[in-house]
Amino acid sequence: MDYFLVLLLAGLGVTLVGGGLIASRLFAPRNPGGVKNEAYECGEETIGSSWVHFNVGYYLFALIFLIFDVEAAFLFPWAVVFRDLGGVAFLEVGIFILVLIVGLIYAWRKGVLEWV
């Protein structure tokens, strides 16, 4: 029942926006066309599309993020049962995290974490 309600709540989110937009369509004026529908560029005429090759300067951050986020996903179950597992679990996870921290230090020394 819990997850069924979660599903219903997701539906609620969609319905709220959908209902709101339908109401707005009924009440709001609609007069599209002309420069109003161009993408806003501070009053100038829009130059080209923005769907261009975009240098995502942070893709290396994204890579490191991925590693640490997956690591966090591994750590959650460990954290829940840690009380019962005791010292061995502490050592094992300690080694696991240390390996990742070495990775972070490596990225740091390589200058990946510098924003240029």
Binding site: M1, D2, F4, L5, V6, L8, L9, A10, L12, G13, V14, L16, V17, G18, G20, L21, A23, S24, R25, F27, A28, P29, R30, N31, P32, N37, E38, A39, Y40, E41, T46, S49, S50, W51, F54, Y58, F61, A62, I64, F65, F68, D69, A72, A73, L75, F76, V80, V81, F82, R83, G86, G87, F90, V93, G94, I97, I101, W108, L113, W115
Partner: protein, 373 residues
């Protein structure tokens, strides 16, 4: 004075808590087991209506509070015209946004442009529903609550990225890219802080995390570990909420409006609503994890004081504590100047992340040797 003397074990007796969590979802499933179909549907509808109502009320109240506080911080009065001291201002604004034309740029990806506010509000609704507002006032109590929260809140990033990309506007794209980098970075240290609290309380379920604080809130009980986790969590949620001093994705003075530049009318209103309600979600999480959720404030041995504190209903405690942290977030906005993007990235990757890792080790040690109270 030794820490242990300062927090006497009588704290344990002071909080005689017999609170049993009963969620709306549990009521629905017990009605379902009794083959009570109308009861089941009734409770499910109650859950949905409660969440929708909470969303609306929070939106109206928080937007009013933000504007009023902003006014007073700047020695202005804030909204004063609509209703008594402008109390109906945000309702009037909502109505105005409803009546405004819904402009979609002609080069935009229409479907994704519509999908982004839907996703944004959906993420907010989903997190709002699992917050334990009081023992009897919780819509769903998932046993994987903490993981669920991290998972669902990252849908919000997706909404921002989609909004920025689909608008086909340079400002939107730049804002969305900044937001993406910022939010995923700070999500790491937020997750690490959550992990510390899971370690200490030994549960992922939000109601159980609160129950584990019946003998004292984690912020007192866990020595320094809880305080460090709290501070990192506060900083990183402020960043995840895109609030000043981390409001680079929206920075009005540099990016016009960031990812929502091309949104008008109700679509903009939904982004705005989601953002403000997320502020409550973040404060409520802080309260739940570190400040005992709906638990009253007890001081060990002060029986008279404790009995007075116990008279205040848990829901009021939760609301009051959350209101304090919402106030703190609004206060930040008028106190700290905006960070530069390189400062932002190095704060996370060079300070908060290493601190978070050290903190996890400390927390594990504390749990291992049972040093916490």
């Amino acid at each position: 004075m030794d820490m242990l003397d300062f927090f006497p074990s009588s704290i344990l007796q002071a909080a005689d808590t017999s609170w049993q969590t009963v969620t709306i979802a549990q009521r629905a499933s017990s009605a379902f087991r009794d083959h009570d179909l109308s009861g089941t549907i009734g409770y499910l509808l109650l859950g949905l209506l409660f969440t929708a109502g909470l969303l609306t009320v929070l939106g109206l109240v928080l937007i009013y509070a933000e504007r009023k506080l902003a006014g007073h911080f700047q020695c202005r009065l804030g909204p004063m015209r609509v209703g008594w001291h402008g109390i109906l201002q945000s309702a009037a604004d909502g109505l105005k946004l409803l009546l405004k034309e819904d402009i979609v740029p002609e080069n935009a990806d229409k479907l994704l442009h519509l999908g982004a506010p839907v996703l944004s509000l959906m993420a907010t609704v989903l997190t709002l529903a699992i917050l334990p507002l009081s023992p009897t006032l919780q819509v769903v109590d998932l046993n994987i609550g903490v993981i669920y929260v991290t998972a669902v809140t990252s849908l919000g990033v997706l909404a921002i990225l989609i909004a920025g990309w689909s608008s086909n506007n340079k400002w939107s794209l730049l804002g969305a890219m900044r937001a993406g980098a910022q939010i995923i970075s700070y999500e790491l240290s937020a997750t690490l802080s959550l992990l510390v609290m899971v370690l200490l309380s030994g549960s992922l379920q939000l109601s159980e995390i609160i129950q584990s604080q019946s003998d004292g809130w984690w912020i007192w009980k866990s020595h320094l570990v809880g305080v460090i986790a709290f501070v990192t969590f506060l900083i990183s949620t402020t960043a995840e909420l895109n609030r000043t001093p981390f409001d680079l994705p929206e920075g009005e003075s540099e990016l016009t409006g960031g990812f929502h530049t091309e949104y008008s009318g109700l679509r903009f209103a939904f982004f705005f609503l989601a953002e403000f309600v997320n502020m409550f979600v973040a404060s409520a999480l802080i309260v739940t994890l570190f400040f005992g959720g709906w638990m009253p404030f007890y001081i060990g041995g002060w029986d008279g004081f404790n009995s007075i504190m116990g008279l205040i209903p848990p829901g009021i405690w939760f609301a009051g504590k959350s209101a304090f942290f919402i106030f703190l977030l609004m206060w930040f906005r008028w106190t700290f100047p905006r960070l530069r993007i390189d400062q932002l990235m190095s704060l996370e990757w060079k300070i908060l992340l290493p601190v978070g890792f050290i903190n996890i080790f400390l927390a594990a040690l504390i749990v291992l040797f049972e040093w916490h109270f």
